[in-house]
Point group: C2
Chain length 418, copies 2
């Protein structure tokens, strides 16, 4: 089965917003063994939408659209698909009730134009939207008209993702004759894309399951998907594959599921009843920012010190000026004292510290740009190491340092060797 | 003139990376009055690339491609364009010398397959790449073949952007008979997209110049572009328009040019010989992270304290426990003491502090999620205010708070009213 993905919206083609929906859908579909032949993006224009739909249907068995399902006059997706299929729009009562209910739950009366969102092409199958007002739909064209299918989804990523995973993917797998599909995401750390690919190469045959990859730096994930006649059988086979993947990835696997390493660290801190404090030099606050992006992090995050200057390292973290004098601010000795100091200053059970040369300036032959030191301190122990990350860019060095530092905390909490 | 943008690469169609190039190019082209009819994305596959090129040339006068100009076997863009034009590839000596020189400058011998990057279609015009190895090219098809043009650019955003601005845009404007084009970006703060649109509505006629917009939250920018027979005349007219835009945007304009407000703040700090320290509660380190993303920020950024807990606010920032008891951690009084305290603790001339309820939990009827307090303290003065930002999402509240906080520092340094 081949699929083409079509993003519809003036804001995309004007360069005002970036389309991330198509990439998400592609990874999801490829995991199910569906070949994605390409993406198109067009503005909210009837002629452009119709031409793109026709081309996409020439190329693929199914076309998935995102966007253009809103209540306003420039939302044209539904009308264009109906015109293409030469079929009228009918009011879909259950969808109308769901939209009305959604407004009632937030104490707002439904504006009249939202009724439009419950108009669906005759003989289409609605795709329920449990996170917003616009339902999508699946319309299969008549055999005379090619017999291919158009699936429409809203453009809001949060709504689109849920509908794609809960309704679109199972439908596509059924349609491909595959029965049920189950998939699982494996979040990894410390690997490049090509290394991840290598490590998983040959771990399943195409008949056992399929792998797809997604990189959103610093996150790198693999998704394993299994199709089988029944969901129970697919799940049972996925459990077997998960075992193999876990063995292959070993300590590089930090979570099964789509989560950042800061979420894993948060969970481990809660489980072990520990608290974290961060002393950040080269990362400048990025680690604190990532840790506090997790809801509920105030339960385990004591806070931190952004010790950008040597004075701050000394006065707020209690680093010995002689250590900085002797070893430099970017050294295992200094960063160890920073980790110790921030743990003490904030009364946390764990201290994490970073110091490095993010560039572009500040490098030297002994300590070039990308030289980074990371330390973890705890009751009765501490650990530090120096890394040479290279000088790709300032923000890259910061992001990599934060990622490695959080991974060091994960390893410590999980009882893995450093 | 109509343009279509084509992104080429397996990694895009596999969902492994997100295409941000097309949006950048669209904004650039629309600023020059060129109508962008849509985007397409295809894999590194000859059949798919040729089909997409043909369709794009059906729709538009010019097609701009990104990607597929690398040295490896799966880089097919140049070969496909040559095949479409039915023209051979010739070795372009100046491009080969530029590639060899690039490798020499980093002390590496040029791998043999990089020679491929200097093979360009006969009669094409090279687009020099001053930031990487792959040159692009402009090839105008014969009149028999439609007389339309294909412009190729590499997929690496940094290389692509520079080549698009320095070579592609001027070429397109010439081709459209427009003489020269100059454009300028206006970076704004404190506005929604629709408000920005309103504020600039009617400030220039289409014959005077053109406006386009780009939003990459929290950044929101307008670009004004002027075409004229000569660059000098275009520049003179742009200066007039810039005056009008400055008047319209007033204090919402923080920079002419594409920069973050943290860069503007950095420049103002250097100019006034001041230093900044941040006391962050709800932003969790995000302000420090943004400030330290600017190269050279160590010259003016003293550091900060991530005072996530009340204990940290008291012990590290010297906030009076009675203030927190009486007013709450999210209050003008507490955040004022935090700003004062962090300024003192880090020996900076300016202290900036944030405290708020980022959600999703922690809200109350008096202080719902999205309630945020910001303070600035300096020698002899201080300022604080409470905001109701709403509860869109945890990370949105953090980003908005950081943006407003940095803007308060900008306003203070620029001598604007708070």
């Amino acid at each position: 089965m081949k699929a083409c993905i079509l993003a519809i919206g003036d804001e995309i083609v004007a360069g005002l917003t970036t389309d991330t929906n198509s990439g998400f859908l592609s990874q999801l579909l490829r995991g199910a063994g569906i070949d994605v032949v390409g993406y198109m993006s067009v503005a909210d224009d009837e002629t452009d939408i119709l031409r793109a739909l026709r081309r996409a249907l020439d190329d693929a068995d199914v076309v998935i659209t995102t966007g253009g399902l809103g209540p306003t006059a420039d939302d044209l997706t539904t009308a264009c698909v109906a015109r293409l299929a030469n079929t009228p729009l009918d009011l879909h009562e259950p969808s109308l009730r769901a939209i009305e209910e959604r407004f009632r739950s937030i104490g707002v009366e439904m504006p009249a134009n939202n009724r439009k969102q419950a108009l669906l092409p005759r003989n289409s199958e609605p795709i329920p939207n449990l996170s917003g007002t616009a339902p999508g739909f699946i319309l299969t064209l008549s055999v005379d008209n090619g017999g291919r299918s158009v699936l429409t989804l809203p453009g809001v990523p949060r709504e689109m993702k849920r509908m794609a995973e809960e309704t679109v993917l199972p439908w596509l797998v059924q349609r491909a004759g595959g029965g049920a599909i189950v998939s699982r995401v494996f979040s990894t750390v410390g690997l490049s894309e090509s290394r991840l690919d290598e490590m998983l190469a040959g771990c399943m045959t195409p008949s056992e399951g399929r792998l797809s990859f997604r990189a959103a730096f610093p996150r790198l994930q693999a998704r394993a998907s299994v199709t089988a006649p029944s969901a129970a059988e697919a799940e049972a086979r996925l459990v077997l594959l998960e075992g193999r993947i876990r063995t292959r990835l070993g300590e590089h696997l930090y979570a099964v599921g789509d989560e950042g390493i800061e979420e894993t660290v948060g969970r481990l801190l809660i489980e072990s009843e520990q608290t974290l404090a961060v002393g950040e030099s080269c990362t400048g606050g990025l680690i604190g920012h990532r840790v506090t992006d997790v809801p509920g992090s105030s339960a385990y995050f004591a806070g931190g010190v952004i010790a950008y200057s040597n004075e701050a390292k000394v006065s707020l973290l209690g680093v010995d000026p002689a250590t900085i004098e002797r070893e430099g601010a970017v050294s295992e000795a200094t960063v160890m004292e920073m980790a110790r100091g921030v743990r003490r200053a904030l009364g946390a059970t764990l201290g994490l510290a970073t110091s490095g040369i993010a560039g572009p300036g500040g490098g030297s032959p002994e300590k070039p740009v990308g030289t980074v030191c990371i330390a973890v301190a705890w009751e009765g122990g501490e650990w530090a190491r120096r890394y040479q990350l290279g000088s790709r860019s300032r923000s890259w060095v910061k992001e990599m340092t934060a990622q490695i530092a959080l991974d060091r905390v994960r390893r410590h909490l999980a009882g893995l060797s450093q």
